[in-house]
Symmetry: D2
Subunit: 128 residues, 4 copies
Amino acid sequence: MLDLASGGGEMSELLQLTELAERFRDERDWKQFHNLKDMVVSLQLESSELLEMVQWRSGEALDEHFRRERDQVGDELADILYWILLIARRLDIDLSEAFKRKMRKNEEKYPVAESRGSAEKHDRLRKR
Amino acid sequence: MLDLASGGGEMSELLQLTELAERFRDERDWKQFHNLKDMVVSLQLESSELLEMVQWRSGEALDEHFRRERDQVGDELADILYWILLIARRLDIDLSEAFKRKMRKNEEKYPVAESRGSAEKHDRLRKR
Amino acid sequence: MLDLASGGGEMSELLQLTELAERFRDERDWKQFHNLKDMVVSLQLESSELLEMVQWRSGEALDEHFRRERDQVGDELADILYWILLIARRLDIDLSEAFKRKMRKNEEKYPVAESRGSAEKHDRLRKR
Amino acid sequence: MLDLASGGGEMSELLQLTELAERFRDERDWKQFHNLKDMVVSLQLESSELLEMVQWRSGEALDEHFRRERDQVGDELADILYWILLIARRLDIDLSEAFKRKMRKNEEKYPVAESRGSAEKHDRLRKR
């Protein structure tokens, strides 16, 4: 049975979720299949499952679809998170720290004064 | 400046990271661009950035590459997490709860007795 | 210099393009890197490059962007075609025949009478 | 019934396939759903279907899998080609010409003398 370790309250939330993912994997002895290449491919495939949910839908109709299928959206986000957590763990990356560091990088790259409300700056966000 | 709200220690870690993401977005007034379709497309594109890092590499050479480029891997994982957090927030999905629920679903779908060490069961993991 | 073989007029167009792709690859002795896994990963990455062009754009603004960047769109489509051709060749798949066969399958699956103008049937097209 | 137009022998092969795709679409009155954004998203999703076939497989086992599932591989390549053809048509792009032009660009970018057998040059192929 998956359950948070007692006393887990002191463990960070992301670490707790990582341990759930690892326990699930290890109880099935699946670590042997988890090479980095297939882990990253799996992440991409899970992300595609979410993309499939937006295909042929947009605007308000899409919002409504996602609200109606909220549980499925949650499942897909969870599947993506599963791989992010395991990839981070494999490389001893503290995901929370990595996130804060990346947000600081983005802050420097997109100063508020120049970026505010700018679609162009926003559009460039990915082309770093 | 991005910084955790004082007293944030009682807030869950994922919620804290979500607030960092929202603050970054709101300081730049970028919420107006964030429709669900483009948020999901952006998630897919960030996931592709990580996929690009495994292209033409595998096995030990890939492990070494990821260790050497650990910061970049962390950045890419952070970019993916950014969109997961914002999509979850948009739909009022508690990502932590969604993850635990999905792990329980997977547990039922892949009973330890039948799945243990089985590449086939593992392979079917995504075809739910 | 890449150029169609003289007398290529009798060769099918897709075969001619395949030969261009192979000649480019072989002149650089790159076949050694082309395992199926990385070929498929590369196809996915090229497809993401096109996806990046639609990020944060839709409707008429997207149409206009694609018309203005028509050459870049052509480049991205060419990059995708490059991998399709090489993957088909690797497996001795006649892409033209495979396409006609798949269209016949789709025809049977989506009878005109039931599918005409139906968004739902259209939406199900991918879930075969 | 989908069938090549009589006298199609003088039409280029890619144009013939494009007409098959358009006839399939038009008989079902589906053009109304085909905005550029969803066409590109669909292309990405079809590419993911092929990526799913390489998940958890590599080397000789993958080669064998693709040989055994040759028809499915052909179907997936056809699905990708379907969208490439329709996107090219939408923008009046001659896919064959675009491909030749792109191969010439790649030739200039990767001179044989410098690129021959070089994994590094090969690796840089996508980062243009």
